[in-house]
């Protein structure tokens, strides 16, 4: 049960963790994240890196769609901008990864602002179509601007490096990706307990009143686009370093839908939801493959039968979530927490 929760300062009251129990759990989580690469198999490590990248990009899209209420189908395009920036810079300048990643984020943010310009006039599905057009346009640039993007062949790049250290293996990349994901989440958490984040939520809930209450809509909508694409750009840059090859097909439209689905399955406007959604969307298809492998000894025909079923099962799981848990995975987590806040009493 939760007791002893009284605070003496406003600062303590507005802290991210308001009890020592929460701090202990978070420290444990960090310890697990730190120990994970030393224990995990190479396959799990690979998945861990993918989840980390997905968390950053999903958090970015959550800021835009979940918190500011602007639906975007451009996330994969923004990630592509980040990935190509990293690839081009590391091929042509050999700069260390913190610089290239920052550049990737900033360039993606600039593109995001351009794509976001129609958002003052259009919203909802219309905005989704406008961002869709932008992502088609970006895809065209990736494929056709050969001198810079390498055309359909794409670009291959050297591993990330810093101070002579090379981050070649998944093991090494994990120590770039996961800290950045944690940092991205802290940034977003801070955002939504301060002025700018409140303005985002106000625009989502009632844009007209928000404007009359003193929030310039265009400025904050573009700010949300910029921040969201910055996150996407970083995620795309990490993607480039992780696979070390970037082609136009690395960032298909279905990837934008993947991230939108992650935001919705996890819980719109909930940071933890973004994390859970990203993990769900990345891991469940893998888990289903694993299930097939486990079933094969008992049922030799499993691979033949299951492989076309995987997509269907995955789709059905998403539909199931929308119907039975419309507030997403985060809502399940909240229920579990509430149970323990009251335990051993019942409300």
């Amino acid at each position: 049960m939760r007791i002893g929760d009284a605070k003496q300062t406003y600062l303590a009251d507005e802290a991210i963790w308001t009890s020592s129990t929460q701090k202990i759990w978070f420290a444990l989580l960090l310890a697990v994240l730190l120990a994970f690469p030393f224990m995990a198999s190479s396959y799990l490590l690979y998945l861990g890196c993918l989840v980390g990248i997905a968390v950053i990009s999903t958090t970015g899209l959550n800021i835009l769609t979940g918190y500011t209420g602007l639906i975007s189908l451009g996330q994969a395009g923004f990630m592509g901008v980040g990935a190509y920036t990293v690839a081009w810079l590391s091929l042509n300048t050999g700069l260390p990864f913190p610089v290239t990643l920052l550049a990737a984020g900033l360039l993606a943010a600039a593109v995001g602002v351009l794509v976001g310009l129609p958002s003052l006039r259009v919203k909802g599905l219309y905005l989704a179509i406008a961002t869709l057009a932008a992502s088609v346009f970006l895809h065209f640039i990736f494929a056709e601007w050969e001198p810079v993007t390498g055309g359909m062949e794409g670009l291959s790049l050297e591993p990330a490096h810093l101070f002579g250290l090379e981050f070649r293996s998944d093991f090494a990349m994990y120590f770039i990706i996961v800290p950045l994901a944690v940092l991205a989440l802290f940034g977003a958490k801070n955002l939504f307990r301060t002025r700018v984040g409140r303005a985002f939520i106000a625009i989502r809930d009632r844009d007209i009143s928000a404007e009359i209450l003193g929030i310039p809509l265009l400025k904050y909508k573009l700010m949300s686009f910029a921040l969201s694409s910055f996150y996407a750009g970083i995620a795309g840059g990490l993607f480039a370093y992780f696979y070390r090859v970037v082609t136009p097909e690395s960032f298909p439209l279905s990837m934008s839908i993947f991230y939108l689905a992650a935001v919705i399955v996890g819980g719109m406007g909930n940071l933890l939801g973004g994390v859970l959604g990203a993990a769900f969307m990345t891991l469940v298809p893998e888990a289903l493959k694993l299930l097939t492998a486990v079933m094969t000894p008992i049922w030799p025909n499993a691979p033949v039968f299951m492989s076309p079923m995987l997509e269907i099962i995955f789709g059905a799981l998403i539909v199931g979530f929308l119907i039975f848990e419309p507030h997403g995975l985060a809502e399940i987590w909240r229920r579990v927490r509430r149970f323990f806040h009251l335990w051993p009493f019942r409300s």
Partner: protein, 270 residues
């Protein structure tokens, strides 16, 4: 001195004349009320002052300077705060966050400061929290609900939270669009007391739209009556009450004496 002067304001949507040649003034440090039947143009008038509607003709002067061309967010920063007829709280936020949002224009933290929550950004958040707690939450007696999401609150409390949010804007003119609509008697009395206290303690001019005649006549210093987009009377409550045009606008032509009684319930009792 008049803090707001509205002169010859006209607003139309296609063929509908929402406001025609509307002129009246809001004396500083008063409670000024705009009354009128449904559809008379009261909320349109508020929307013109907020800058959400752009009148085709006429002028609104605020503290002596014209408001034309100033965008809504800037008007909020100048001290024009308001509440809305259909409660316009942000349903995804707690009561406390809703109120803090009102202080948006008085804060400076930018995107990077917000992300870092360090130094000035954090200090500013704490200052706003303290101001909101001491001046507003205590004053409006809503400390027990500060952590609750606004969507879960009863109607009367939502209205009060909206008032709190408007106060966080540090208003010079507080525009209240039907502050007691749909409330029971007790809630109405609370709200009337808050409005009077705000005028006394906050150095604020109140401009109100309200249908509850008992409350309007009790607390207003100055009344303007709108009908079909035109001002048909303006003055002190007792003068407006006696004005035959006003009575006609509200109640039609038949049996003026009976209707006059209904408009002045206190007299009837006496």
């Amino acid at each position: 001195m008049n803090i707001l002067e509205i002169s010859q304001l006209s607003l139309s949507f296609g063929g509908v004349h929402a406001l025609q040649d509307v002129s009246f003034h809001v004396p500083k440090d008063t409670i000024t009320t705009v009354i009128g039947p449904n559809g008379a143009g009261k909320t349109s008038l508020f929307n013109c002052i907020s800058g959400f509607y752009k009148p085709q003709q006429g002028e609104i002067r605020y503290q002596g300077a014209p408001l034309r061309g100033i965008k809504p967010p800037k008007r909020a920063a100048l001290g024009l705060a308001r509440t809305f007829q259909n409660i316009a709280l942000f349903r995804g936020m707690t009561v406390l966050d809703n109120i803090k949002l009102g202080a948006h224009v008085h804060m400076k933290t930018g995107l990077l400061g917000s992300l870092a929550y360090y130094g000035r950004a954090r200090r500013e958040e704490m200052e706003i929290r303290e101001e909101v707690e001491r001046r507003i939450i205590d004053f409006l007696e809503i400390d027990h609900i500060r952590r609750q999401p606004v969507a879960s609150l009863p109607y009367g409390l939502q209205k009060r939270v909206e008032l709190a949010r408007a106060l966080a804007m540090r208003p010079k003119v507080l525009m209240l669009d039907e502050p007691v609509a749909g409330m029971n008697r007790e809630e109405k009395e609370d709200m009337a007391r808050f409005i009077l206290d705000i005028r006394e303690e906050w150095d604020v001019t109140v401009l109100m739209v309200e249908h509850d005649m008992g409350m309007v006549m009790d607390i207003s210093d100055h009344i303007a009556v709108l009908n079909f987009g035109q001002v048909i009377a303006e003055g002190k409550p007792q003068d407006v009450q006696q004005n035959p045009d006003v009575i006609k606008a509200y109640l039609g032509n038949s049996d003026i004496d009976d209707l006059r009684k209904r408009l002045n319930p206190d007299r009837e009792a006496a």
